[in-house]
């Protein structure tokens, strides 16, 4: 049946390859020293990453030649297996950087949370594409939420806030499938209120909200019904409760290092040797790049270990320092281009499964990009999360490759009738 020529989306593949190879160059540069100049020295990170890239490409080819139905049919079993792995991880994990998300297989350390992303994407796509599903049903919402929340919760238990946060991205496919836009607005409003509540006097904030509510009621609406009054009152009450619970959340739910990172981001403290060190160094490294950067292998700050985690979560610093504004904007543009390409591809799918899965892929990549680059640029609190296809790390590269190529495979056979 699939003897017909595969029509893979070469634009996506070229973007994938470009980002991955550029990432590898930067890993090479970040770890560069005069003793290990060989590109293929497998004792150092860029050498190992090369092995992972080869493995990822093999995996990509394998997926491309796999019958696409395999993935939709095995979505739930894969999901269940990965959830099982996450639970096992809680007991077997070795501690790396304060997180307990790694399983040591001896030859290779493996991070199940990376694979939870595509497993969840498959399961959500599978569930949402079930015939007769309507996003407006409460039951649908709850089941979808549970599918997403279970891995997120398990990952949170591993103290890997960053990876757990990625699951917020599933709001985009759900939105596309009919979830009310209010959820997006509420989400954004909650973040905004949280930040404002930490920065501004709470009563002033409440006063402003009250003024906005009154403006809405009496200046915006031409006709007012009692329902409108109730709505505004309810929204206002929720906001007030949220604002007054912010302190509690901040002080009791968040961990001290997270509080510190938020304080630094909001400019409330300038702890350059402590919580603020990473971001400050990262901003210095990027800022020192200028327009065209210092040139490949010429970065002085990243090479001198000023920036911590420079091969993994802070790899973007190396780009900023060595390739300058031009290089880093091009990289950001490549990512945005890839994301938009994925959305467009998702929209051209005939099967809802492929479409939802495509949206999930774009959303997961987007959250990674947003959090990682935002963190490095000092726009988002420091949350350890890799830059897709770019950061050093086998688990994440393989997991992202699987995530992406399952979708490319689905897209290649989109014209096959189900």
């Amino acid at each position: 049946m699939y003897q017909e020529k595969l029509k893979v989306d070469w634009i996506t593949i070229w973007l994938y390859l470009a980002i991955m190879l550029f990432g590898w160059l930067n890993i090479y540069s970040a770890g560069y020293n005069a003793e290990h100049t060989s590109l293929f020295d497998f004792s150092v990170q860029h050498g190992k990453q090369f092995v992972w890239i080869v493995a990822a490409l093999v995996l990509a080819v394998v997926i491309t030649f796999t019958e696409p139905r395999v993935f939709s049919n095995t979505a739930y079993p894969i999901y269940i297996i990965v959830m099982g792995l996450l639970i096992i991880t809680l007991f077997l994990a070795v501690t790396v950087n304060g997180g307990k998300s790694w399983i040591d297989l001896g030859f290779f350390r493996f991070q199940p949370s990376e694979f939870a992303k595509f497993a969840t994407a498959l399961a959500v796509a599978k569930y949402m594409s079930t015939i007769g599903i309507d996003m407006r049903d409460m039951r649908t919402k709850l089941v979808a939420a549970a599918l997403i929340a279970i891995p997120a919760a398990l990952i949170l238990l591993q103290h890997d806030t960053g990876s757990a946060l990625v699951f917020v991205g599933f709001i985009f496919p759900l939105y596309r499938e009919g979830l009310s836009g209010n959820f997006l607005i509420i989400g954004v409003a909650a973040i905004a209120l949280f930040v404002l509540a930490l920065l501004v006097n709470k009563y002033i904030l409440l006063g402003i909200l009250l003024a906005m509510g009154l403006f809405y009621l009496f200046a915006w609406l031409n006709k007012r019904t009692s329902r409108d009054y109730w709505h505004v009152a309810a929204v206002f009450a929720c906001c007030a409760m949220f604002i007054f619970s912010v302190d509690f959340i901040f002080n009791n739910v968040l961990e001290p290092h997270q509080r510190g990172r938020i304080d630094v981001l909001l400019g409330k403290t300038e702890d350059l040797q402590g919580s603020g060190y990473n971001v400050n160094q990262s901003k210095i490294a990027i800022g020192s790049g200028g327009i065209i950067g210092k040139g490949f292998l010429r970065g002085t700050l990243t090479k001198a270990d000023f920036v911590p985690e420079q091969e993994t979560d802070f790899i973007f610093c190396t780009v900023g320092e060595e390739w300058g504004f031009l290089g880093s904007s091009i990289l950001v543009a490549l990512y945005i281009f890839l994301l938009i390409r994925l959305v467009d591809m998702a929209e051209r799918q005939r099967s809802p499964f492929s479409r939802i899965y495509g949206y999930s892929v774009a959303s997961i990549l987007f959250i990674h990009l947003f959090v990682n680059v935002g963190m490095v640029l000092g726009l988002v609190p420091v949350i350890g999360i890799p830059l897709p296809f770019f950061s050093y790390g086998g688990s994440s590269l393989l997991a992202f490759t699987i995530l992406l190529f399952i979708f490319i495979r689905q897209d290649a056979s989109k014209n096959q009738l189900l």
Binding site: A34, I133, D134, M135, F172, Y175, R176, E177, G178, G181, K283, I284, A285, I286, G287, S288, G289, G290, I291, T300, L301, K303, A304, D305, F306, G320, E321, G324, F325, S328, S329, V332, A333, Y335, I336, L339, I340, V343, D344, A346, E347, P352, R355, Y359, A362, F366, L369, F370, V373, G374, L377, G378, L379
Partner: protein, 620 residues
């Protein structure tokens, strides 16, 4: 339901694009519009390692090395890198106590735990040798080499000056200096600082987060080599200087010896002096405090900063002015009338030459009266104003009343005082003064003050018969033998040569003829011409003597001041000058007994002389 919400893809895409634009905007702010991060980046990843040039050497006029450098070692520490240190052993090697160690480490840590600071300053070569081969055991410590001044002959301390760490004023004035640099603080070290210091070089090193040097930045493309300081070839005669300092031991005062034809200073002594090696290295701070608080002010160069009444020596200049103005002639005689001004017992002078020889006070009272009251105006007050102005102009041409333009720091110099009409108008009121008010100037007392170097310069003027070359310390410097053209110019007094011949003859008589006041300065075979002076003072008078020799074609001119000496100029200053001239012209002093006597005796005690010299007022 499939495409019911297809429009929502636009919302999603717009969100993606907005975030992309936000990031690129943020990148633009960080990388294009905000230089703060770029500068910080430079600061922390590159370290400029200064390459200190060797400071120039200082030589005497015969090429003898006076000042050179010695390597010392600063022991540096980067507190964060100190690991597994056997503290007791370390302290033992350095010869410090545990408490001292903790103190120093605390200071270093306070400065910065990550960057290098000086743990122990200026460890000598010998001390360093003791633990040099153990340095590998002291992780976090390293040695930085510097140079210190070293003086083989402990002479001319005030002239050579000293070198010290820059202070805030230096840093503000000249961006060349960085904290911890050395700079000339006084003497030649200060006035020739820019010649001696050379040009610092720098190595740009790439450092890592622990401030460890990773390697040269851009393979040393930005590095510069240090340029060594230029050597100074001074006019000093080290042997004469040494001898003069020996003679001035146990005394306060100064000696300035000049080669008249060139203005080159052969010796400049300020007593008491000190060993310049005291102000070098780690002992500097302690010694500086000691020297600075000494009431006899050994750090001041009395030859340049001391202001004294000129005393009788001034009479030589007065007679030249009067002769040049034509108010007297060489044969003018004045009766020694002690009712005008006190004098000692001597026959009345019948000529200028005799007057100089006998240093007759009433004679010069008359001379000065004729200079000040020339009779140009009926009103004696106006007449005195005119006369004083004329006289003041002459005095400036003789080099008085202004700082001599010598190549030593101006801050350590005085100008002396030659009063002008404005001075007296301020003091007494306009037209409220005339000769009778200011006659004390005639014999070098009153409001006139001079600086010893100006007096030596006066001797040089007479020696040259009417001109001087600005006294200076440096003949030339650097590999290109650079000279200061200013120091080749003649400054004419405008007084005729024949009048100076009379002054020279008078000064010859002072030393050689019976009735002269400085017979003790006489050295057989050397035609020393001199003039004594006694500068009145609150304590004992200062003993002053100027001279030049030989009479014709003089090779040396000199002023000698001995402060608070019992007896006049002839008693102390003259014989010391005689010994110095003998030393300079003959190469050695034959009169060992005289030499011994003046080396050892403190002039504040009574002189062991056969004839006790009675202190006589106004006696030259």
């Amino acid at each position: 339901m499939s495409n019911q919400y297809a429009d929502r893809s636009h919302v999603v895409k717009i969100i993606f694009i907005v975030i992309g634009v936000l990031f690129i905007g943020r990148l633009a702010i960080l990388q294009l519009f905000n230089s703060e991060y770029r500068e910080k980046g430079e600061q922390q990843s590159l370290r400029n390692v200064t390459q200190y040039p060797a400071r120039g050497f200082i030589y005497d006029r015969h090429g003898e090395l006076l000042v050179h450098n010695e390597a010392v070692y600063d022991l540096m520490v980067i507190p964060r890198m100190v690991k597994d240190l056997d503290t007791n052993y370390f302290c033992q090697c350095l010869g410090i106590t545990r408490a001292d160690f903790d103190d120093r480490m605390q200071k270093a840590r306070k400065y910065s735990p990550y960057s290098a600071s000086i743990f122990m300053k200026q460890v000598s070569k010998e001390e360093y040798a003791k633990f040099e081969n153990k340095m590998f055991r002291f992780k976090g410590f390293y040695i930085s080499q510097r140079t210190l001044r070293i003086y083989d002959r402990p002479i001319a301390a005030q002239v050579l000056g000293y070198v010290g760490e820059v202070d805030q004023a230096d840093l503000d004035r000249d961006p060349y200096y960085k904290r911890g640099d050395y700079i000339g603080k006084s003497g030649l070290e200060k006035s020739y600082e820019e010649v001696l210091r050379g040009i610092k070089g720098k190595k740009v090193m790439h450092v890592d987060v622990h401030n460890r040097e990773i390697g040269p930045y851009r393979n040393g493309a930005l590095d510069t080599m240090p340029v060594e300081g230029c050597n100074l070839y001074t006019t000093l005669d080290a042997d004469l200087q040494t001898y003069a300092e020996e003679l001035m031991a146990n005394k306060r005062g100064c000696v300035v010896a000049i080669e008249p034809s060139t203005g080159e200073i052969l010796a400049m002594v300020s007593a008491p002096t000190y060993d310049p090696n005291l102000l070098v290295g780690r002992i500097r701070g302690k010694n500086y405090i000691m020297l600075n608080s000494d009431i006899s002010k050994p750090m001041l160069n009395r030859a340049l900063i001391g202001q004294y009444p000129p005393g009788s020596i001034f009479k030589v200049a007065q007679s030249m002015v009067a002769l040049d103005l034509g108010v007297i002639n060489p044969g003018s005689g004045f009766v020694c009338d002690k009712s005008l001004v006190g004098c000692h017992n001597h026959p009345s002078a019948r000529s200028v030459q005799e007057a100089i020889k006998m240093s007759c006070n009433p004679y010069f009272y008359q001379v000065y009266r004729r200079v000040v009251q020339q009779g140009k105006y009926r009103n004696i007050y106006k007449d005195a104003q005119y006369g004083l102005t004329v006289w003041h102009d002459y005095m400036l041409r003789f080099g008085f009343g202004q700082k001599i333009d010598i190549d030593l720091p101006k801050s350590g110099m005085s100008s002396g005082n030659i009063p002008d009409t404005a001075f007296y108008n301020r003091w007494y009121g306009k037209e409220r003064w005339a000769f009778s008010t200011i006659y004390s100037n005639s014999i070098g007392q009153g409001e006139v003050t001079v600086v010893p170097i100006q007096m030596a310069n006066l001797a040089a003027i007479v020696a040259n018969r009417g001109y001087y070359v600005t006294p200076h310390m440096v003949r030339f410097y650097g590999p290109d033998s650079i000279q200061n053209e200013e120091y080749h110019k003649r400054h004419e007094t405008g007084v005729k040569r024949e009048y100076f011949d009379i002054a020279a003859a008078g000064m010859y008589d002072v030393v050689h003829v019976a009735g002269g006041t400085a017979r003790r300065a006489r050295v057989d075979g050397l035609d020393i011409c001199g003039k004594t002076g006694t500068a009145e003072n609150y304590g004992n008078d200062h003993s002053v003597f100027i001279c030049f020799a030989p009479k014709d074609n003089p090779k040396i001119a000199m002023a000698v001041y001995v402060e608070n000496a019992q007896g006049g100029g002839g008693t102390w200053a003259a014989p010391i000058a005689g010994l110095l001239v003998e030393k300079y012209l003959n190469g050695e002093v034959k009169r060992k007994d005289v030499e011994k006597q003046y080396k050892e005796i403190n002039p504040c005690q009574k002189l062991p002389l056969t004839r006790r010299v009675k202190k006589a007022k106004k006696r030259g």
